[in-house]
Structures are given as C-alpha cells and as structure tokens.
Symmetry: C2
Subunit: 389 residues, 2 copies
Amino acid sequence: MTMSKPSTQAAHPLTLIPGPVEFTDEVLAAMATPSQSHVSPQFVEVFGDALALLRQLFLNTDKRAQTFAIAGAGTLGWDFVAANLIEPGEDALVLHTGYFADSLADCIATYGGKPTQLKAPIGDIVPLDAIEAELKAKKYKVVTITHVDTSTGVLSDIKSIAALVRAVSPETLVIVDGVCSVGVEEIRFDDWDLDLVLTAPQKAIGVPAGLSIFIASGRALDVFRARKAPPASYYASLAKWLPIMQNYEAKKPSYFSTPPVQNIHALLASLKQILAVPLADRFAAHARMSDRIKSTIGSYGLKQVAAREGYQANGMTAVYLPDGVALPDLLPRIAKRGIVLAGGLHKEIATKYFRIGHMGVSVTDEDREDFDKALAAIKESLAETGYAV
Amino acid sequence: MTMSKPSTQAAHPLTLIPGPVEFTDEVLAAMATPSQSHVSPQFVEVFGDALALLRQLFLNTDKRAQTFAIAGAGTLGWDFVAANLIEPGEDALVLHTGYFADSLADCIATYGGKPTQLKAPIGDIVPLDAIEAELKAKKYKVVTITHVDTSTGVLSDIKSIAALVRAVSPETLVIVDGVCSVGVEEIRFDDWDLDLVLTAPQKAIGVPAGLSIFIASGRALDVFRARKAPPASYYASLAKWLPIMQNYEAKKPSYFSTPPVQNIHALLASLKQILAVPLADRFAAHARMSDRIKSTIGSYGLKQVAAREGYQANGMTAVYLPDGVALPDLLPRIAKRGIVLAGGLHKEIATKYFRIGHMGVSVTDEDREDFDKALAAIKESLAETGYAV
C-alpha cells in the first residue's frame, strides 16, 4: 500500500464522504502543475499515458475499446450514453437501486430514449429473474446498472447481470454507472463483456472532481457508428471526442475543446499510485476496511440502508440513525472532531441516515488512521446525543 | 498590477499562447487545496464568493442575471446556449469571424436550431449594415458574436452590434462567445444590454482549463422559462443548474452534480487578484502590451491575420509567417528559447501563421519580462531561418 510520510497538506478536516475523498500529496501537487500548452509534447505524453493506464484500471486490453477523460463531471457520462448509444424512441432498461437511477432515466428521456425502470425496494437489489423477464418481454437497446448507488450503498452484481443480458438479449448494450465503484469494486471490463463503464475522479480514483471518465467497448462504438440520427449532444458527442482520445493515446496532439491540463496531470499521478499495487490487493484492502466499518457500526447497534449481505458497497456505508437522533444532532458533533461525513441523499429517507465514504488513500494508507479517528468520533458523538452505544 | 516576487513554480517553458496562459502562484496553490466536501460550509462560501465576483468581472449588478461556473470547458457554454435559449426550428444568426463560428453553428444545429452564418473574409469583421439587413429580413431568436475569434485574433465590436440588435430586433437575444475576451477586453454586461456571455478560465481569467463560465441576463432566463420544449441537454440544462448557482451564491449548499472544488478555489483566487485593480486599468495594461507586441511584430516586417485596425484583439496576435518560412522551421526554434507559441487554427490558412497569447499575469506583472523574452526569441528565431528581420 502507499508508504506513509509526513503530508505536505495544510491541516484540514478529514473528508470521509462518498466523494470527494482525501487526496494524496502527489495528486494535489499535480493539480498545481505550471501552465502547459494542451498540444505540447509534454502534455500529449501525460494525457496519452493517463488514457492507457485507465485501460489497466478497467482491466481492458482489447484495443477496439477506448478510454475517455473529458472536462466535466460523472453526470456528463450519462449524456454520453443517452446522446450517442440510444436513438430517439429506443428503449432503455434502467435498474434502480437508488437516487441515481432516477437521474439517469431523466437524462435518457431528455435525449428521446424511453427509460423503463425496474425498481428495487430501498436498500435492496433488482433480482436477476425480474431482469430476465423484462429482457424477454421487450427489445432493449441498453440496460443500465448503477454499480454502487451512492444514495443507498447498494452494490449490484454487474458480472451476473452482464452474463444474463448476453444470454437473453445479446445485442443489448450493458452500461455501468461506476461513479462510486471504479477503483474500489472489481470490474473486469473485457472478461465480463461490458459495453460502457462511466465514472468520476473524486471517488476511488482519488483525484479532484472535474472529469468525466469512461470506457466504451468495440461493440458500443460500432453501435454508435451505425447510428441513424446524429449524436444528440454537441459537447457530449462521441463523434467529436473519439478521434481526440485515439490521437492523444497515440501521442498525437488533437483539438476539439481544451482539455483540463492540470486535472489530467492529477489523474495520471493517481493512476500511477493505484497501479503500483496489484488491483486485487487494492480491492481486498477496501473490502477489509469496509467489513471493519460495517461490523463496528453494527456493534453500535446501527443498521445499514443496504440491508442485503453480499450486496453492500466496499467504498461507502449508508447508516440509519438510531431512533430519536436527528442528523443536525449528530453530524456537527462529528465535524467538531475533525471528521466530515455526509447526510442522506435518497429523497424518501434523506433525513434518516448518514453516509461514510471509505475509498482511496484513507483506506490504503492505514498509518493515517483516518478510520480509527472516524469510528471513535462517531461513537463519542452518538454517546453525546444520549444514545447508548 | 500584481506584485512581483520569486515564484514558487518549477522552472518551465513560458506558455504564451491564446490559452492556457501562465498562472499565478496563488492560483496554482488554490488548485492544490486539500479535499473539501462540495456541500461543506467552507466550500459553499468559496463558490458563492466566486459567483459574486464573476458579476463584477462582467460589470453586472442586475440580480435578475445569474453567473454560472460548471465543470466542463468553454465549448460546453455553446451547448447551454443551443439547448436552452433556442428551440427546435428557430433561427440563429451566427456572425463569423473565424473557426469558432463554424463550431458554434454546428452546435446550434445539433439541438435543432437553424444557424445562418454571416461570414467575414478571413481577418475581417462582419459589417453592421450586413447584420442590420439580415435582422430585418428574418426573425432571429439569437445573434451570436465571437468577441475575439482565437483562430484569427479579430475583435468584434459587441457594443455596437448589441445596440443595433436592440434597435432593429429588440427581442433577439445577444449571445457573446467571450472565451478569448473576458478579462482582457471591455465587456459591460448590463450597460450594453447583453444576454449571455460565455467564457473559459484558461485565457484572461488566468485559471487552469476545466470550467464553463457564463452569465445569463434576466431576459435570457425569461426566454428560457417560457420555453415550450424542455431543455435539449441533460448536463447542459439551465433548469438543473440555475437553482444550484442561485443557492450557492446565497451561501446554501445544493446538489445536481459534484462541482470541481479545486478549480472553483482557483477561480476565486484569480478573481480576487484581478479585481484588486480597477478593471479599466487591467484592460489598459493589456491594450498597451498588445500595441507593443503588434508594433514590434510589424517592425519585423510581419503582417497580422486580423488586418483591420481597431478590430484587433488585445489578448492575442495572429501573425502571418514570412514567405519561405514554415511553422516547423520557426516554432521549434522559439521553443528552444523557452517560449511556447501556438500554430495556426483556421483551417484555410492553418499552416501560414502562428499565434501569440498575451493575457493575464504575463501581461500584468511586467517584472516577469515574459514578452521581452518572447519578442527576442521570435526575432532571433526568424533570423536563424534566414529571414532578414
């Protein structure tokens, strides 16, 4: 794991939310890279390397696929899906395990696609047989899965869902919202035959927000190329960005819109740190920390929103408040102890739970003791509210 | 102007292109701000202040208008215009003074608008009488003006064009692409009765690329609110972002998509530096430097792409190569002297000219002597090619 050493960062509260996470000194130093032309040989090298290392993060070697890193946000990845891979009037099956599926369905409808949501009860997954029945009932252009829904902490089994889609409806594209999963949950892009995985940098990739990151399969790009209608977005157009990414990865400068030079430097810095250790070790470290946090929280008598064992995120935990304790009673007490946690996000239960993010350097560098501090702060703060921990 | 002091930045070639420009130490330090929750009181304060200072940069006090700063790029601003202010089938008059008008027209057509281009000869402006005739011939929903076309260095007279539009077609929205102008050219948003000015941070605002920045007038927002069709983009939807910006400016956290925390810190740092000096002084300093560079280049016997006096950008100069000298002969020689300039961008003449950016700290901090070095490097390099300077 990352070697511990005195940090160069100013003292600051620990941000232990489901993104943005704490960043390494090297990543922050890269954010402060002095100005560089976006078409300079120096930057072309950095951008090309970052795109190539992203392939490793997605466990991709098939060059028909392409990685992308574009100024924007995780949300922008949905526009890329909805405006390029779905044509007006085509059906999209949206598997709903929380807040973010509603937004994704909204995005798909914006560009003329027809989203059908399969909704799990709050905290649960969508069962495979329900997905199978729906895929047999109708021809879907895409199935979308929120790998980890940041509003609930539910972890979907994308490997099994992808295998089901291939068996039942082989032409349907498998789209994964990996915003809170890439870098912490196992994702084997090639082996699992996925078509597009999108993410954001400020979660388990450990880079400040400001990028839309995704990988599209050869199959997805062929579907895009066979589109009848032109892409329905200008900035989020694969037609505009595909040649740019291909060129940079081939170490050739190229221009559509100025890339965020410093954010790309930071992405490369973090990918180098992440990939210096086998990914399996990284995933295992996150799983161990997640187990520890979940069992400690359980020992305090608190329940998780993601109730089904085996389907709980390894990078975050959503925790129901005990009866009689409100968010404004608890989170400020934890904040006073230097730990920033997040409130609820799922509209139906937003005031009833809080969220802990456990991704990145706070997990991999155990010498930081970030979660010793956080778990102690939670326990002490609960006790202060009068709850018997 | 900015006080000179030893820079904390690593030695690096001077980036003197029409964006990205050189950044101040304070801006780069802000890019390396340790992690902060996007809804923390600390960040809400920073984002709110940045949105308020953007109003000052646009010389706006009318609160019916709203400033925006969103993860993305200058290009994304066009999507905001095309997907929110123009409905399918409506006409847009695009004033063409270079490469960027073609892209903007492409963007408008993507969302169903009907762009009509009024094209100036390369290096020239679109005359007012041609605009007037077109506005009288057809009802246009918007007129778009590239304030400074980065491909040619042509400066359009947006004040006169806006006044003409108000006189001839008062309901038509006046849209300004200010990517290479905001922070260097005079723009009086309220006084000139403009409707939307969009820009990017890596030019005269002096912040690394990674943001779409714009201000929309009360009139523009009313036109948006009266839209019959929903916004044609999800990520670039004013419906999504307007309440977010209003909330942050009122110092209330709000969530649609995670903002780029570090880039917003850098934006605030730069706006504080810019606004510490009267804007008129800043514009005058850029005009003086521009005059110096243009006259020096002229004294070398070189001609500008932007040929018409009074319509030449103050933040960049596009320079035709002398006969017999090719870009690959010249720019690498200049680069060897530690100065990065840009090649051509306008497709019809791309190999025939180069571009110098003169914006931001390289201009306002004369003690840096960036342009003494740059002009000397150009002269020496021209001489090396055999051209008699």
